[in-house]
Symmetry: C2
Subunit: 339 residues, 2 copies
DNA sequence: GTGAAAGCGCTAACAA
DNA sequence: TTGTTAGCGCTTTCAC
């Protein structure tokens, strides 16, 4: 494969019979050049298919037009949808994004922060994960925006999330309004802020509607169990133990789906005998049979808020520093599993 | 947030009372320095938390320790699993990966190639998509490895894929062996090489088992329809039109799941009345109710082959140039939908 | 409106 | 074993 050697600004300058400074000004539209020069330079750039060497540019400006995206697992529809949306946003604004999978591993997260730092990323978006951001692994003062991850107080990171508390409340309320009296919750036990808040919402709804809290119905799973399989297993256990329940709030859709399949396998009718509601509104909730009611997080709003915030911060556009957190509304999606 | 300014090699040199060249040698372990010097330098590096400026390094070496990953849609479990695996592999080898979502958009793909080029990526992995790689958007001669995307003959890209033809054959054979006589195929009409091959395998199996080919049972959907919804719709149509069938080969698992739900909604019993088999073995196939038989592609083998190949190419390790393509075996996973 | 030149942080050729 | 230095491609200050 014969390649045209990558042409540099110097060569453009020679070809256009101007100085490199002028070429640079034209490219970056920094003014102080004549229309004639502009045209001459741009013609040659087009002709030779010149593209800037980003390494040189970064070195010079300490900016890279690149951001880092820290994500627990891209192989999870919820996260991959966010990632896709974020990537699209920044593509439009001429940024590239490094996607960094931490696999929930703190060491890997630290390693990534260091790597992103040395690659001169202009900003970082952190999705979910632990509260403590390893920002001391950073040597430069770049903005950080968190999604669904409430940073420790002393951190200067911004964050945006859905109203998980309200979501938990609304989910539970939906079950109550559909007639459920014994409502189980299937969630994760780790004090990840989002799950905690959803649990709080659940408890508050029970209280408000004068339903008895029952610790036996709080199925809080370990991290390795907090998935489809684990939820299915937990529901099986509940049935085996003869603990009566007529509604289940699963704090994400995969767990809700696990609950559904667990019930179907035990020949429990959904929604007639037991109603189910999930959280997130990922694809499986709409497509399962019967379909699953859920709490919809507004992904476009979530990513738009986070991305434009980061963009502003990177470009030093004044942000009201008082407002470091953004809580977005959620919405009940009623489907077959609660009808 | 007070940040320690990023320290440079020059300052390390001053602190260690050696030259920058020596520091560079120590860092890159290029020999020609004493143990004493090494220790002195490394102490200071650790003490000051020095990390190399990758932009400078890239500029100097024309290498970036970064690869590009071109993927149609990261928000698709199949692709995100591949992406995750690839990312993990390269993380271990100290490479970062730019994930580039083309959304099946050729213009975006070209834009990404240019961007990756100017970011000096050392190599590119392309997953799926059209045959023509826009390698003329590249100014440097970097290696390209394709997964599930057979590059045009004149390209010098390598490629690795599963044996899709065999997969189509085995899927159809499984249905035949389970007693199906009228086997429909639900696939995508575009001549994407993988779908085409799966279709060929299907036709060959019918022929080998002396079953009549029936064009009415070849449901080849447009790109926007070639998903869960479209497959469900297509099966509804088939039922409405009273075209008899007792087996369905869907060329991916989401379509298989669409077929399943479509049948359930029409009160058709699976697998008693109609058997189904999918392709890919993504999560939904194992977790649906009833679970779906499928053709499993070996993701670890696929990514391992592609990644180590790319790594070798990037490091100029001799590759047998005759062998530019790698075809990996697939496997039937029998579950409830064909039992 | 334009050009000369310094310098971002690093590697590597060459000299010692 | 170590140091000096040029230069990767770019932006930006300063002079004209």
């Amino acid at each position: 494969m014969v390649k045209k050697k990558n042409i540099s600004i110097k060569e453009i300058a020679k070809l256009a019979d101007v100085s490199v400074a002028t070429v640079s000004r034209v490219i970056n539209n920094n003014g102080r050049f004549s229309d004639k020069t502009k045209e001459k330079v741009e013609t040659i750039i087009k002709e030779y298919g010149y593209t800037a060497n980003i390494a040189a540019k970064s070195l010079r400006t300490s900016k890279s037009k690149t951001i880092g995206l820290i994500v627990p697992n891209i192989d999870n529809e919820w996260f991959s949808q966010l990632a896709l949306d974020i990537e699209n946003y920044f593509f439009k604004h001429n940024y590239s994004v490094f996607i960094c999978n931490t696999s929930q591993n703190e060491e890997k997260e630290v390693a990534y922060f260091k790597s992103l730092d040395s690659k001169l990323v202009d900003g970082i978006i952190c999705i979910s994960g632990i509260e403590t951001i390893p920002s001391d692994s950073l040597t430069r003062d770049i903005p950080i925006v968190c999604i669904d991850r409430k940073p420790k107080d002393h951190s200067n990171a911004y964050y945006v999330e859905s109203n998980h508390y309200l979501g938990g409340y609304l989910a539970t309320e939906e079950l109550i309004q559909q007639g459920c009296k014994n409502i189980a919750i299937v969630s994760r036990n780790k004090s990840l802020s989002v799950n905690k808040q959803r649990l709080m919402g659940y408890r508050q709804a029970l209280k408000d509607y004068q339903l008895q809290e029952n610790k036996q119905l709080e199925l809080l799973l370990d991290i390795e169990q907090a998935n489809y399989e684990g939820a299915k297993e937990a529901i099986n256990q509940l049935i085996k133990n003869n603990i009566p329940f007529d509604g289940v709030f699963a704090t994400n859709d995969w767990r809700a789906y696990g609950v559904l399949v667990g019930l179907l396998e035990n020949n429990v009718k959904v929604p007639d005998e037991v109603k189910i509601i999930g959280f997130d509104d990922i694809f499986i909730s709409a497509s399962s049979h019967p379909s699953l009611s859920t709490i919809k997080q507004n992904i476009p709003a979530l990513t738009k808020t986070a991305c434009s915030l980061l963009l502003d911060l990177m470009n030093d556009i004044a942000i009201n520093d008082e407002k470091k957190q953004f809580i977005l509304p959620v919405e009940v999606i009623r489907r077959d599993s609660t009808s």
